[in-house]
């Protein structure tokens, strides 16, 4: 998700960040709600999270052919690199809970696919299959891609 897509006004509007508090981990949320009476807090509940979550456990793929890719207008392939929204990925698990607000970024078209994949993984992201990508995209995730 590129920074430049976020409107300037939203970036500055710190108060709006509070809306995402519903997605924070529980201790973080409690701190926000309870101990900081000195600032007003408002969070707005978001719907559909459960439905999204049922399909939100995805497996990572290593096979570059089955990984989700996008073409740019020069027909260069770019891999889709997914980063989970909340918390780090557990190494041991074969599936990943992407949380409620995963983000995805496209690889650098000037690099070959293997290099793009490597850069994705060193940055803490995973490659997911085309099918998984499509099922998530339809639910409003990754709207920036």
């Amino acid at each position: 998700m590129s920074e430049k897509n976020i409107p300037e006004q939203l970036k500055q509007d710190a108060a709006s960040k509070q809306t995402t508090a519903a997605l924070l981990s529980q201790p973080a949320r409690r701190r926000l709600l309870k101990s900081t009476v000195a600032i007003p807090v408002i969070m707005t509940l978001h719907s559909g999270a459960a439905l999204a979550r049922t399909s939100n456990l995805v497996g990572a793929v290593t096979d570059l052919d089955s990984a989700a890719k996008k073409m740019n207008d020069l027909e260069q392939a770019r891999i889709v690199c997914v980063n989970p929204g909340d918390g780090p990925i557990e190494e041991s698990s074969s599936t990943y809970d992407l949380g409620m607000n995963p983000t995805a970024a496209l690889g650098d078209a000037s690099q070959d696919l293997a290099t793009q994949a490597e850069n994705c993984q060193t940055g803490g992201g995973i490659l997911i299959s085309v099918t998984a990508f499509q099922s998530l995209q339809g639910r409003g995730f990754f709207s920036d891609l």
Binding site: V37, A38, V41
Partner: protein, 95 residues
């Protein structure tokens, strides 16, 4: 100079959970979670419109705070946020 008021305060459904509040806004169908100060702002804006200064004053008295510039900034942001959510409305005044 702007002032604000809670336009549909009486239509809100408010549940108190020991100092935290769930607020259902029928117009938008949204549920909001507010802390004590968050709700207090809505309460004092129910009735006549107030300016930022007055709001901050009210809040600092009610919560026994020493308002600084940062506090003013926070409240101004919150008012903007509330306005975007349709919880309060702005009244433009001629200077």
């Amino acid at each position: 100079m702007n002032s604000w008021y809670s336009s549909h305060f009486s239509s809100l459904y408010i549940e108190n959970w020991d100092g935290e509040f769930t607020v259902f806004q029928p117009e938008s169908g949204k549920t909001h979670f507010l802390n004590e100060m968050g709700l207090h702002i809505l309460t004092i804006l129910d009735g006549s419109p107030l300016r930022l200064n007055t709001i901050c004053q009210e809040l600092s008295v009610h919560f026994s705070l020493q308002p600084d510039t940062q506090f003013f900034g926070k409240i101004a942001q919150t008012l903007q946020r509330y306005e975007a959510l349709g919880l309060i409305e702005r009244v433009k005044e001629n200077e």
